[in-house]
Symmetry: C2
Subunit: 277 residues, 2 copies
Amino acid sequence: MAANARNFGRLAMNQATVPRWTAPQAIDGCARAGYRAVGLWRDRVQECGISVAARVARNAQMTISSLCRGGWFCAPDAAARLARLEDNKRAIEEAAELSAATLVLVCGPAASKDLGAGRSEVHDAIANLTEKARECGVTLGIEPMHPLYCADRSVVVTLAQALDMARSVDWSGEVVGLVLDSYHLWWDPSLDVGITEAAQRILAVQLADWLAPLPDALNGRGMLGDGSIDLRRFRELTESAGYSGAIEVEIFNPDVWALDPIETLEVVAQRYAAHVE
Amino acid sequence: MAANARNFGRLAMNQATVPRWTAPQAIDGCARAGYRAVGLWRDRVQECGISVAARVARNAQMTISSLCRGGWFCAPDAAARLARLEDNKRAIEEAAELSAATLVLVCGPAASKDLGAGRSEVHDAIANLTEKARECGVTLGIEPMHPLYCADRSVVVTLAQALDMARSVDWSGEVVGLVLDSYHLWWDPSLDVGITEAAQRILAVQLADWLAPLPDALNGRGMLGDGSIDLRRFRELTESAGYSGAIEVEIFNPDVWALDPIETLEVVAQRYAAHVE
């Protein structure tokens, strides 16, 4: 295909940036625009069926750079926690069927005000999943999230904490690693040393910019270059640590979602060239 | 005065929680309600004049538990940085005239995307101010702020980072310390060890709860008990570290501001008794 003459290399698109597209549309649309990898979301993949999404990706020679999202482990009682573990095992199977590079884990929120208890539950749940993940050939990506989300998304809020947890549940480093998103991590005074230490544990890298003041707690992420983050430096840090995989752009923002997805893919590629590469 | 029979002990009010009152009204209103200390803001004190506020506080036997805010050190050029240093020296003099327990420093934001440079500027500015503060008998309180504010308020975003900076600029611990606010710090996996290490450096403690999802980036702080923070544990941690001073309630929230300030003082005292004491 003529359009396929373009190849954006490591630049990848997360489906959440172009939610007007179904999963097959996102895979094909990104491929046609010159992207070589796309991050998918479970709910959107389930709309079309896993096998359909997997076939569309194979036909388009597209890599699935991540599958969002496992996790949400904490619950007030054992039965609910068990149900969530079972759901995560299904997510691992889905990631395997899609040959996704990693299953992204949302590590929380806690079931009470006791963050320590929530963190223990997350730790134990991931430890419980490692055997299944190893059997399926799937890696589990702990995503440290911005402390902004400590109450309603993730009790894992720093890179150092995520790395400690990954090492504790899987010393080999073969199954459990990290997902590094600029939006979640950019503020951390220990970012440089954290990324260096993460090294081979880095399973995925995602980018969004930080807008100030934050327009919305959930859907206020910025287009590359519109915000406060030195995104080029963030990419360089991950590269210096040895990461050479896909770099997904994941932007939750109604202004971005209002664009035609084809235009979004163009804007992202231009901004990536100007602010990241 | 009959109303003065009540004494809320360490519970203190920050003026920002009752912005409908002038500084003299806040000092007198809090005293009448049973508070023994109040945190003031420079702009509101300047409205009535420093000497007036100081006299009203003396007459009401009220302690000024903090003066907000110095800081805002970073600037794109040396002349602007110097002007900000001069303004901070005036703030130190104002804090001295008010016999304020500490001058709260907002440590940022950076003048560019280079957070490391911003952090160096903050460090050097505080170092520059220590002599003046010592002469005036004023302590400088570095306030680590929630990473939410890294772009537009403070490049100091963790307790560990703030403590490192305080130690670096003032090894004696006599002049530079920390202001610990539950809203800014509650998410930190290193909170317990951080507060323990802060120990005698803790100059002020402030409380607000965390609402999720955050209703507003700047003015979305929660009334005590309305949110996700274990506030009692936060207080206990500071006490275990040796802090026995005022505990200010500082809530930026239009729903709170809509109340009659006298009602706010009552609600805060009730919530403090139920969720903090």
